[in-house]
Amino acid sequence: MKSKHIRGIDDLGKEGIQEILSLSDHFFEVSTRRIPKVPALRGRTIAWLFYENSTRTRLSFETAAKRLSADSMNFSVSSSSVKKGESLRDTVETVSAMGVDAIVVRHSSTGVPWLLPKWTDASIINAGDGAHEHPTQSLLDCYTIQKQFGDIEGKKIVIVGDIKHSRVARSNILAFKTMGAEIVLVAPRTLLPVDTSSWPVEISEDLDRSIADADVVYMLRMQLERQKEAFVPSLREYTNDFGLTLERAQKLPKHTIIMHPGPMNRGVEIASDVPELDNAVVTNQVSNGVIVRMAVLYFLLGSGAELSEDGNSNE
């Protein structure tokens, strides 16, 4: 049974991920057209509920929805009743009562996407919950890797940095593993979750050794405040031991790609000039983001019929 929601990677499983990746191929083709827009979700309404600041993910989702001709309902949390103390439940019930087919939600508290179905019949898409999951980021990362290598299975993916506080890392570990990749986490012990004994990963504190034969080097954003919270003595020391310096990047095997979910802290986890290297695919991730989110919205809300006539669906 196809899941009604995409709250976490487990809602999809391997089949779901594969279906979204192949839908993405289709929407990639759409994106190359002169007018990259299809009527696939005409008459469908999507609400955005962003309880945390987000520019990139939100723009990416909004662009995807527009290209599918969906209507969107923008619930601006910072200037709305939420500021006046409205509860999540009341907000969701209100939005739901107006009639929406899907709610895209980002929230600083873990698990919010799993609570929402108590209060609405809409499909829920998780755009990031606490440090827990960010499944659409993982789907676009999978798509980027698959486009690069043709396949994710058997690839060695090294994820570097603040795993402990990263929802991107948690979703990516689940997604990459589901697709058969080999995963290595590199971080100082303070930035790893306390108990990873059940995680399907190898853990290392030696960046140079781990990336020597990697297919993908995935750098995570290092929040500047981690220094104040005593997770690392200084950012300088962090960059030395766990940053992707230009020297390290240039030593990578030719085929190795460099990824980052953004926003980057240039000079901290990734050296200033590294994102411009040929094997850095950071901007590909961003453009794939729109395509994959089109696939995600279509996967949940589309009927299948609209796509079969896609040849003449431009209007």
């Binding site: 509860s87 999540l88 439940r89 929230h107 600083s108 508290s109 873990t110 698990g111 919010v112 799993w114 609570l115 606490g130 440090a131 827990h132 999951e133 506080h165 990263s166 929802r167 948690r170 979750p193 306390v194 108990d195 990873t196 004994s197 059940s198 995680w199």
Partner: protein, 429 residues
């Protein structure tokens, strides 16, 4: 000569107290004291308790009422309604409502509020002003009003000096000092037990050392000063080991365990429901099993609920935004009977007899049911099954960590000072 007719007789039940188990009727006189125990007794009001257990009323060493200050969450009246329905006839009210009981004035105002209570409420005072852990509250002034329980609740950043001085100073009142076992720093952002589940969910964890470090510190100071100290809501076996060692070395330390800590695990947090957000947090199955073993071995002094009602809309929030706390009076007996493999006498010892001793209430509560004692009694059917539903409980808030669980053990009647406050599960006021 006409002897006054008994007011109530409990007919056909099985009495369990410290002296053992026996089948007999229990009669309550017009003065509220137990007037007769025997066969074929009569009274104005005959209550059929055939096949049920007659026990002394339960005593909760750790109850939180939000009054004074946060009456939206709970009042002494609603809280004690829930308490008597859970079989409790005496509870100690923690001094950590919005208005902290750290002065004689506030104590007096709470005494007044206690007139609305359905059971005995032992008022506890704060050990330190504003529960800040820094300056000792006017213990003598509160003691002059009869306060014998002083509390430094969870999450107080204590310093060794103040703790030591309070333990020394309070001894002249024959007081017991109650401490929550949380040092503060580890707790400050933690939301659940630190471990495999918190790692997977990305929720900040609270390591068990948050408790064990504080337990060690408090045991050391109790030993040093000779103070009577009771440790609250102890949740892991390492803490119990430290306490047992201190007890063996002569420290006057007792401790309690909450029902959920021997019944439920942190796996429940994976539902992201805030009803499972409690402090100290739910832990692992291994830990729960170890706590059960310690209870079975008689290493634990008391079961105490830590009952705390939260406004429902606050518990409707996302996990990390919601407050800590669960209601607990009405599920304590059920949890003990369902999750512990102990004889009834062992369970009653934990719910009633031993906590009555710790609270200094042995004269009126606890393990003896004989003629002349006040009629503080609880009658229950230990086999009857039921399903816990917070909305059917008496507290203002309905967030219960046991929601939806099938349990065995149903309270039918509760008598406070010889008055039936609960009949067949129905509150009589």
């Amino acid at each position: 000569m006409v002897t006054a007719m008994n007011k109530i007789v409990l007919k056909g039940g099985v009495i369990i107290d410290k002296s053992g188990e026996r089948q007999a009727d229990v009669a309550i006189g017009q003065d509220g004291l137990i007037s007769e125990i025997g066969e074929g007794l009569s009274a104005e009001n005959i209550i059929d308790v055939k096949g049920q257990i007659i026990s002394s009323g339960f005593v909760d060493l750790n109850a939180h009422f939000s009054q004074p200050g946060n009456e939206k969450a709970e009042t002494i009246e609603t809280g004690t309604r829930s308490a008597v329905r859970g079989g409790y006839t005496a509870v100690i009210a923690m001094p950590d409502s919005e208005k902290i009981n750290d002065s004689a004035d506030i104590t007096r105002s709470i005494m007044k509020l206690c007139e609305t209570a359905l059971c005995h409420v032992e008022i506890a005072g704060a050990i330190t002003l504003g529960n800040q852990g820094k300056q000792i509250a006017p213990l003598s002034e509160m003691a002059a009003l009869g306060i014998r329980h002083f509390v430094d609740p969870m999450v107080v950043e204590r310093n060794d000096l103040t703790t030591r001085r309070a333990m020394e100073y309070s001894q002249r009142f024959e007081a017991t000092l109650y401490y929550g076992c949380s040092g503060g720093e580890f707790y400050s952002k933690g939301q659940m037990n630190e471990g495999m589940v918190s790692s997977r969910l990305g929720i900040l964890g609270i390591p068990k050392e948050n408790e064990t470090i504080e337990v060690f510190r408090l045991c050391s100071l109790a030993k040093m000063t000779g103070a009577r100290v009771h440790l609250q809501q102890v949740s892991n076996p390492q803490s119990v080991k430290l306490i047992t060692e201190a007890q063996a070395e002569g420290a006057k330390v007792t401790f309690e365990v909450a029902p959920h800590h021997f019944a439920l695990t942190e796996a429940l947090v994976e539902s992201f429901e805030a009803r499972y957000k409690i402090f100290p947090p739910l832990t692992t199955q291994e830990n729960v099993n170890a706590m059960q073993r310690l209870l079975h071995e008689g290493k634990v002094d008391a079961i105490a609920t830590g009952h705390r009602s939260c406004e429902n809309h606050l518990k409707d929030q996302p996990f990390e935004d919601a407050p800590f706390g669960t209601i607990g009076f009405e599920t304590a007996l059920g949890a003990a009977l369902t999750f512990l493999d102990m004889p009834l006498s062992g369970i009653l010892n934990l719910l009633s007899w031993r906590p009555a001793e710790i609270a200094g209430l042995s004269e009126t509560h606890g393990g003896t049911i004989v003629k002349g004692r006040p009629g503080n009694l609880t009658i229950f059917d230990p086999q009857k099954k039921w399903v816990a539903k917070g909305t059917e409980m008496q507290s203002k808030g309905s967030s219960s960590v046991f929601e939806g669980l099938q349990m065995k053990g149903v309270i039918s009647h509760t008598l406070v000072d010889g008055e039936l406050v609960v009949i067949e599960g129905e509150i009589q006021k």
